[in-house]
Symmetry: C2
Subunit: 311 residues, 2 copies
Amino acid sequence: MAPEATGVSNAAQAPKPSRFDPSFTQHVIDTMGPKTTERNRVLLSSLIRHIHDFARETELTIDEWLAGVRYINEVGRVYSESKQTRNEAHRLSDILGLETLVDEIAHKIISDTDTDPTSSAILGPFWSPNAPFRENGGTIIQDPAPDGQVVLMHGVISDLVTGKPIPGAVFDIWQASSNGKYDFQDPQNQTPNNLRGKFRADENGKYWFYCYYPTAYSLPTDGPSYQLLQMMDRHPMRPAHIHIMVTHPEYKGCTTQLYPKDDPWLSSDTVFAVKDDLVVNFTPLEGDDKAKLELNYNVILAPKDYKGKPF
Amino acid sequence: MAPEATGVSNAAQAPKPSRFDPSFTQHVIDTMGPKTTERNRVLLSSLIRHIHDFARETELTIDEWLAGVRYINEVGRVYSESKQTRNEAHRLSDILGLETLVDEIAHKIISDTDTDPTSSAILGPFWSPNAPFRENGGTIIQDPAPDGQVVLMHGVISDLVTGKPIPGAVFDIWQASSNGKYDFQDPQNQTPNNLRGKFRADENGKYWFYCYYPTAYSLPTDGPSYQLLQMMDRHPMRPAHIHIMVTHPEYKGCTTQLYPKDDPWLSSDTVFAVKDDLVVNFTPLEGDDKAKLELNYNVILAPKDYKGKPF
């Protein structure tokens, strides 16, 4: 964690005296009135301090600042003109690592035993609250894709502490089709809720259904977030992945993503969401006329009041 | 200036060890490829470090981050839907003090004599490159406002080092009308370039023209920047001011604002642009049937290659 920007200096790392008004940042912070909530005061003081330190450290020029102003306006313009199907501000957070960081801040649990709960990964902009419940054994494939490879996905959802299954846990899955597009962003008009569904774990904590082997895809290459990737000389690829969100009222929910182990983009995911325990092995399946591949993935949830090892 | 976020810690102010992955921020920075320009690498490394430090220091929640995402989209939506007449990202910078800070970074000169050049102040979102040249002695008032008080404004533009006048310097002025609105934002449809004009200093460095006594006004109270002001329990008022931009090819240009000395908002300007030498005294004028007030304001420009005192 960074030392306080206004911290006392010392011989070992005395900051260079600034040629800029040393009281300006505190003055801006101090304009906040008494009705500011305590949390907003903490957030906005830190935000103002970091924005100002960024400008002073880099000696930000007026042209650079104006480019930033135009950039923010452009981010919102794309959102607005796409009728909110392109959330460029969300994507911008992702390529700067911010969503992965807030996910870590919110969900990091260090287990006090050898077993860890399933790692969290970012929600991303494509989750929908409207995915329908489907029966175990059913399929989320409503619009068959010519080159989609069907997978029987199944597993057990269990309790970190007791190891026991969690009947009734909800397993919400969403994924892009084989063209790398989710239902509501696909120009080919997928049926709403194609490749989305919620499944309820049975009395043994088991879930099972059919989905597609996931497809790697590029973030859109015609908007402000791609412009930034180009400035950074970075590729726009996400490794193939399946999104899941596993919840139960008595447990801490787990929103995460699963990645095939041979995907070429695992180590350079453009949104920094890959973690070791989320890299999975799809295996050949025999004797099922609906699928030729299988994915067995067990999910471990921590109880709602679980504290883990103190940091 | 803040110590480096990744600086070596020490006994006096050792930062608390973070419970978050200590290598994550550097990893995100290191994804920048070799074709990133050096300046972009500096800017984006600092930006990423500050955004991440902000999130860690405040333990930013997912809901707070999503509120930020929505906020940025909303800022751009207003810009887009207003057909670019409302630059909310620019205004947001202003109320956080960022434009005043980049203005200081760009223009701060510490004179090596007793005389200082005229202080700079922010450009703001209402300057127009299209203001017409007008003759000295003319007026920028094209649409008379019923309660506007006409002012004869005049002065000399001179050289910081020699004290000599600068013939041919361009004095660009713009101001809101008595309703607090600039031409292109006024729902009452001001004539384009009403209350805007450029004047060329004569052979004695003198400029003179008629304008209005300026009017204090509120920033718009129906957009995202006002929402932020409300969160901060701050008022949206700017003190009354006249914008000027004084340029000459052989001098550092000066963009600034002038404020009547009895304005009630001088000490709490919502965009932090007031400086002592910019607070001016309007005096009664006699014997001129066009104006009852006078403002004598001399501008001092530093030569283009002037370095001033080293910091």
